[in-house]
Point group: C3
Chain length 424, copies 3
Amino acid sequence: MRSIAAAISTAVMLALPLAAMAAEPCLPCHKEKTPAAVEQWLGSAHARANVGCEKCHGTDHEKMLKGEAKVDMKVCGPCHQKAYREHTASRHGMGLHSGWGCTRNLPNRKPGECRFCHQKGDEVPTSDVQCARFLKQSPEMGEIGCNYCHSVEDACDSCHSKHMTDLKIVRDPNSCAKCHMGPDHPQWEMWQTSLHGTLNASAGKKVGPDCQTCHMPKGTHDVSIGMTMSSGGVPYPAKKAEPARAEMVRICGSCHAPGFAKRELDRGDQVRSQSLAIVKEAEKIIWDLNDRGMLDPMPADRPPHPLSGPRLVTDNQMLYEDTSHIERLFFKMKKYDYARTVKGAYHQSPAYAHWYGNAELKMDLVDIKSEASRLKERKRGAAVASPEDAEDQLKTLKNKFERGAISAEEYAKGKAEVLEKLKH
Amino acid sequence: MRSIAAAISTAVMLALPLAAMAAEPCLPCHKEKTPAAVEQWLGSAHARANVGCEKCHGTDHEKMLKGEAKVDMKVCGPCHQKAYREHTASRHGMGLHSGWGCTRNLPNRKPGECRFCHQKGDEVPTSDVQCARFLKQSPEMGEIGCNYCHSVEDACDSCHSKHMTDLKIVRDPNSCAKCHMGPDHPQWEMWQTSLHGTLNASAGKKVGPDCQTCHMPKGTHDVSIGMTMSSGGVPYPAKKAEPARAEMVRICGSCHAPGFAKRELDRGDQVRSQSLAIVKEAEKIIWDLNDRGMLDPMPADRPPHPLSGPRLVTDNQMLYEDTSHIERLFFKMKKYDYARTVKGAYHQSPAYAHWYGNAELKMDLVDIKSEASRLKERKRGAAVASPEDAEDQLKTLKNKFERGAISAEEYAKGKAEVLEKLKH
Amino acid sequence: MRSIAAAISTAVMLALPLAAMAAEPCLPCHKEKTPAAVEQWLGSAHARANVGCEKCHGTDHEKMLKGEAKVDMKVCGPCHQKAYREHTASRHGMGLHSGWGCTRNLPNRKPGECRFCHQKGDEVPTSDVQCARFLKQSPEMGEIGCNYCHSVEDACDSCHSKHMTDLKIVRDPNSCAKCHMGPDHPQWEMWQTSLHGTLNASAGKKVGPDCQTCHMPKGTHDVSIGMTMSSGGVPYPAKKAEPARAEMVRICGSCHAPGFAKRELDRGDQVRSQSLAIVKEAEKIIWDLNDRGMLDPMPADRPPHPLSGPRLVTDNQMLYEDTSHIERLFFKMKKYDYARTVKGAYHQSPAYAHWYGNAELKMDLVDIKSEASRLKERKRGAAVASPEDAEDQLKTLKNKFERGAISAEEYAKGKAEVLEKLKH
């Protein structure tokens, strides 16, 4: 048996380029076990530079078989220093902070997940990026649903593929499409149907720029240049936003007149603040219902929020499960439709800015108001005989005061006004 | 300083083709300021024909810098007369009439917008196309959300791009995709996944026809040939529809047997009238609720419609904001799902005709009926002790009479019947 | 006249390859009437092999003109025996069983439709595949909305096109996209944006596998190899599932390490069972409302189900029309969102597994619970003065017993408990 294997091994070796010697111990088996990996590596710059299997994968075969020997960016960093530096400084480098935290309060967490946010033994997170804890996921959904994209933080192969080094893969917008699509941030879809994307399809990249043209100019790995808001859509303060905007106008300037570019982007800012106002109006309605005990079910009557317990949560840590219908409508409004409107406007996509974005945003508000009307009526129905309005108002004031939305003076003044009205 | 600039100018000139002399005064600066425009123009048929910057852009540099020196189709028309004539006669030439009117009643209208519908000093619109006034937009959303597409009426560069003249751009269905996609008219998506589109992708345009093959045969700019309904989906009268259908069958005939083509298109007509019946059923439910004062909120209790004031509007001027939940459901049904069903059927797209269209249409009706049931109950709940049915019926009859839905005689007869029943 | 026609015929003949002699009687006319068909056939392997028009179309010109002379797979089978055998054994070969049955109880059924499920004169269907009877369609929608896809059962031209034989058409994933897209099974969309699909777009089929690579390895027409659940998403028993899984791991193995492939697919199984649990929770809520007479409207108060009459149906025969709002929500949950989650997980698509799938599934549950809460309250509101809880519980027990959900003993025990409580 061994002599046959040895013969095959020799034969395989003879058929391989010299560079393959770097991988000599692994190839005989892996030609059989993982043929695509071997073939792709053989055609790669790594093979040509004599960078073999062990250099990246190490030697712990046991771990590899269990799928635990991840080749993360700490493995790639020492050779690819500039890319490593730019990537870790960018929003991509913080990807997992915003996606991983989700499972932290659930029972089946794997040891080692903590390190994405915490230094060993340190309770304070290393990043101030707000975690997307609305993702209360099973480990399996966490893997496919979260980490398939959020692996970008610490794994170069999220974009570069595992064994090929051909840059045409990462220079193709399809490389970005894997993650930047779908209900919450359909940048791929909006680019595809924008003037930029359609010209790209009909006349090529030089005429119709793609993701990389504007977001990775000159091949930088800092994909966050020119951003004037957080990934959650919160505008940056002027001090941070202004130089970023100037940078983006400079990028647009390689094709467009700066005045034109600035007007287009400033219009995006206007759409953003108009849209945020609609979201805030809806959020206020929901908090008011909460203050008046009218949500169905109330936060205290459902499984507690992993971080905030039996309290209403409408910020980025909002859950999309164990919640009420009106909060679910708000989740769609804020997470999907606000993002579509704003990103659609900045990406010059009429259908996303308007139909998929702004129109949905306004219809969400209609639905939220209608549901609020129903919830108020329901509560009134349950207390027909009581002087409900006054009681309701006093309770609302108390709740607002207790959560710090109004001051002690405003509370006192409000109470006095309600009681005064009752006398008449 | 001036001598350096002059030297650069000369150097630039020497590097350019002779044709560029036509643009001589602009190029030295614009090579720097708008490099893509200059490069594209240099490669264009315009440059070859000695058509320079001023010919299209004029000489008012001040206006250009403010983005107000639009190169609209009146600039292109004198040279491209056939295209101009065909375009203005087509539905594309009426694009803005159906998209621009939306802002007419809002405060921040720009002077000059009126001319899209009105001759100077004339209150009667020049077109009888019904305006899509449901778009009560901010100026910024009006620009990106409406005019990015509806600019097609008076700007050739909507499709042709600004400085290139390569026809491969406009002969690519991507050129149409920019606008003809999204929730309200996803022709691009339904073509892509139809047999026509999938054959186009796998075997090329000759085997799988694209938008231009059927809607712009022989390069005509009249994109409306063969249409048998308005852009809002209202069937044309037979006198107008029949020759249009014959025309479309002739177009199909360059690949298909006429009998087959006719059967396919006639089936689309059937689907259209079946779908319209579902929409009408829903519309009737909403008007009935309105007549009985059961919408929540009623039109009188919300911001007035820009054109119709405190009255219910369910035609093409229907708004998608400041409305009620049930009207919002109807907006989706009529504007999105009816369009998907009908256009899906005419474009031979099973998923759009059925799943995205017909199935949604029927589920909309379920939701509208359920919401109507809730609204009726709510009203009854509020008036437990009164002989509500009779009162309700009398009020409904009165409202119907007042809005002209029933005649004076029908009103009198209806009243008599209700009162008769009350006696027993 | 005849001599002119004869002259044309001769001229046409001279311009054609020798093979065209096989079609000699048809070509002179059909060069005019169906030019694309003639041209495609002339370039086909059929023409080269002297397989002419009559061989497939027969000679009944009358039937052809009416569109009734379908060239189904019984025509192709005798020459293409291997493909025929593999296809009929596969899920594709049972396509119509799951799509055609829908119209069986409706008045305008065409004679001949029965044969898709029944042998002549035999009431027992030849297939145990459950029909998708939720499709209560008009004949026109049945044609475009159902049969454009479900024709796959008995028509090779569903994928192969009508007159071309170039295999590049069927080897292109676009060929699959025609049907495998849309709300209920967007495999095309999830593949396009998966790592497999994006690598296919940027680096070609060898690096990024397409539909055919994994589902039709070595060109088999049995597209169901490796499937571990029914097309409705019901897991197969281990005896059937295990060898299928082993087969799929073997297919993955042509690129991936088997251990990796197995882990990925097993994770899909986990996601499937987690998702099924969410669906079951919702289904239970709806049956409970039905048992308590709280659906609005109740099955007895709406047009009867074509098969089950005035009874609640939530299995694969569920309708999406003539139903209640909460059932409509459940239809979306089960038919769309469950399928997206599960198929998204097996196709390694993060956005479909999570955002379009799992997140929607959980939000559906929120909406269903909220609607259930409203329906319960509504019922209580209608019966304020009665000892409603006990009555409600007794009725529920009775209904459960009558539909066989509890045994006679459980019923007796339940009743005793309720009555016992009433005493206190």
